[in-house]
């Protein structure tokens, strides 16, 4: 600021010009100051803690992160543990089904709401309501509903329908679907609202043009409208995906990993080993594997999405 007050005379200009370093530091100074807290957060919390996690996952730390370096022993133990392997399988199965069904059901609901129906806002509120509840509440409610003696099965049997069976929550082969029902009940409404916003963003004249072209409504949705909603779809996938990876509280409230270990998930494994199992090294190894999985999915996607910038436009 100060150098603007100096009268500009020939020759003095270069003398008064601040040095390169000074210019880099002072240019847009307020913006730089404002960005410092976030930069620190990124460096300390994201990068720093990740490195810390990876380092201590290679130690034999038990109750406190103090152990000595032992290389990949924790990882060998991790993949020899059936509870971890079941957790990973469960997460993949749950994740694929949850992602597909949430998107499909959310889209179908959005399309139904989009038909200029009455009481649209009432429907929207009802559908979105579960999203306002925490997973703990969702899990408890569905635990009661699906409880074989107290819930739906017991009620219908008491009403005289004695052959009725709905015991997924107690059945090791079906318990994942019980989780899925609760998860879908919780998440589809939100997906629907996102999709509805996307549908509303489509120009009315596109619909008219498609009608004049004689394209059936379902075909218009799939071939024309859905591709136009790419941005909304990416948002929905990211939000649903991050919900899947950190799936924890729903399992704790609904099944607590049971029956047996049939509904365990990685986040629960990590939490148990770190805070109640007294084996930080093992927990951090699990956490590192979760991070690695996310990176394996995210990096190719980010590369495809942002990498080939020259090819687009």
């Amino acid at each position: 600021m100060a150098d603007t007050a100096v009268p500009l005379e020939a020759g003095t200009e270069t003398v008064n010009r601040p040095g390169l370093l000074k210019r880099i530091l002072l240019h847009n100074l307020p913006a730089k100051i404002a960005a410092v807290p976030m930069m620190l957060t990124v460096l300390v919390v994201f990068v720093g803690c990740t490195i810390w996690t990876i380092y201590y996952s290679m130690t034999n730390s038990k109750l406190l992160p103090t152990g000595k370096f032992i290389g990949f022993d924790q990882y060998e133990r991790l993949f020899a543990t059936s509870r971890w392997n079941v957790s990973v399988t469960n997460l993949i199965a749950y994740g694929v089904m949850s992602l597909v069904f949430t998107l499909v059901i959310g889209f179908v609901l959005a399309v139904l709401i989009d038909q200029k129906i009455r009481f649209e806002s009432a429907f929207r509120t009802v559908m979105l309501y579960p999203f306002a509840l925490s997973f703990i509440v969702t899990g408890l409610v569905w635990q009661w509903i699906m409880n074989p003696t107290l819930g739906l099965q017991g009620t219908l049997r008491n009403l005289g329908w004695t052959n009725f069976t709905f015991d997924w929550i107690a059945n090791p082969r079906m318990v994942l679907f019980a989780l899925l029902i609760a998860g879908l009940w919780h998440g589809t409404g939100f997906c629907m609202v996102l999709m509805l916003a996307g549908l509303r963003g489509v120009d009315e004249e596109i619909w008219k043009a498609a009608r004049v072209d004689g394209i059936p409504t379902w075909r218009t949705y799939i071939s024309i409208v859905l591709p136009m909603m790419r941005g909304v779809l990416v948002t929905a996938v990211v939000i649903i995906g991050s919900g899947i990876v950190r799936l924890y509280d729903l399992v704790v409230a609904l099944t607590n990993g049971g029956p047996g270990i049939s509904s365990e998930v990685p986040a629960k494994y990590v939490f148990n080993y770190m805070f109640s199992g007294g084996n930080i090294g093992q927990g951090l190894a699990g956490a590192t594997m979760m991070l690695l999985t996310v990176l394996i999915i995210m990096i190719p996607w980010a590369y495809l999405e942002y990498g080939g910038k020259g090819k687009r436009t």
Binding site: D203, A209, V212, D213, I215, R219
Partner: protein
């Protein structure tokens, strides 16, 4: 002669709001009809009814002699071009053109033949593999026209197709649409609020207001013999000059007492006795200086504002106490404060009943 499009007693209500009321319109084969009016006059609504995008409340629509009132748009034999182009953004130009035909299950070689023909007519062959996002506004609108073209239909509907383009492109595409019409000789119905587009393109113009067609005539008649005050004021830029007063026999007396002879006027029916009236005269029909000497009515007026427009000059003055604009050659030097003789011949002007606003 069989009409290409016939609209019989068409009414459309949105709830209690009557948008169109008992509207009748016959359009001949190969005719270029422009529906012209301000926003909210029902012209786009009428076009959507013809296209089948809106269900009518009452009345019937015939296209090529077939009653299409309750048919789906695709079965009506129409192609439509929209203001926002409404291209499918994720598809290439070629696919935009062919998608409707593909869905209809047309043989591949027939689709290719039609797309090639449309691309050739519209000069869009180099663009066929591009996405709409990579096209300019004019190119997009050409593709949109192409999408109507491949449908091989009898009637083309245009819904303000040039409104999203800048002035230069608009006049270029206007000529192209006219050329297209001369080449294809299809019936075209074109909605616009731009009177220049209407006057240049149309075989006949339908001027609409509040869901009613005010006048349906060729551009020359619309311009020179408007049926009422509304049409007279809507068409023409700068608009027609109006002088209120009363007419009695062959004399028009303006509000300030100025007498204007109207004996040469071609009355539809001679008014009986004295009648409150409005006299309208177009700015280019007011003559200046020597040319005004021979006119049945002439007066001296003071120039108040001069607007040089390059090819011509617009000047503002007062005649019979009301502001009047006139148009003259830019070669005539005019300055504010000049006293000039202006005059006009009522035979080229219009007289309207002040109460009914209809032409006398």
């Amino acid at each position: 002669m069989q009409h290409s499009v016939s609209i019989r007693d068409l009414s459309l209500n949105f709830g209690n709001v009557k948008v169109l009321e008992h509207l009748n319109l016959d359009i001949a084969q190969g005719e270029f009809i422009v529906l012209l009016g301000p926003s909210g006059c029902g012209k786009s609504t009428l076009l959507n009814c013809i296209a089948g995008l809106l269900d009518v409340s009452d009345g019937q629509i015939f296209i090529s002699g077939k009653n299409v009132t309750w048919l789906e748009p695709k079965d009506r034999g129409i192609g439509m071009v929209f203001q926002s182009y409404a291209l499918y953004p994720q598809m290439s130009v070629e696919r935009n053109l062919s998608f409707g035909l593909r869905v209809a299950g047309m043989p591949k070689d027939e689709i290719e033949r039609r797309v090639a023909r449309a691309a050739e007519i519209l000069q869009i062959q180099p663009l066929l593999n591009r996405k709409p996002a990579n096209l300019s506004g004019g190119q997009r609108q050409r593709v949109a026209i192409g999408r109507a073209l491949v449908r091989d239909v009898d009637v083309f509907l245009f819904d303000e197709p040039l409104s999203n383009l800048d002035a230069k492109l608009r006049s270029d595409l206007r000529v192209e649409i006219k050329r297209l019409h001369q080449r294809l000789k299809n019936t075209m119905i074109y909605v616009t609020h731009d009177q220049i587009e209407a006057l240049t393109l149309a075989d006949r113009i339908a001027i609409m207001k509040n869901g009613v067609i005010q006048q349906l005539a060729d551009p020359h008649t619309i311009y020179n013999k408007p049926v009422n005050l509304y049409v007279a004021g809507f068409i023409g830029s700068p608009s027609m000059n109006f002088i209120t007063g009363s007419v009695d026999g062959t004399t028009f007396t303006a509000a300030d007492g100025t007498k204007i002879p109207v004996g040469a006027y071609d009355f539809a029916a001679s008014p009986a006795g004295s009648l409150k009236a409005v006299l309208g005269v177009r700015p280019e029909h007011i003559l200046l200086g020597d040319a005004a000497q021979g006119m049945p009515f002439k007066t001296t007026a003071e120039i108040e504002i001069v607007e040089p427009m390059g090819s011509e000059t617009l000047a503002w003055t007062k005649v019979a106490g009301v502001p009047v604009t006139f148009r003259c050659s830019s070669d005539i030097p005019l300055a504010v404060g000049d006293k000039v003789t202006v005059g006009f011949d009522i035979a080229r002007g219009s007289l309207f009943n002040a109460e009914t606003e209809n032409r006398l």
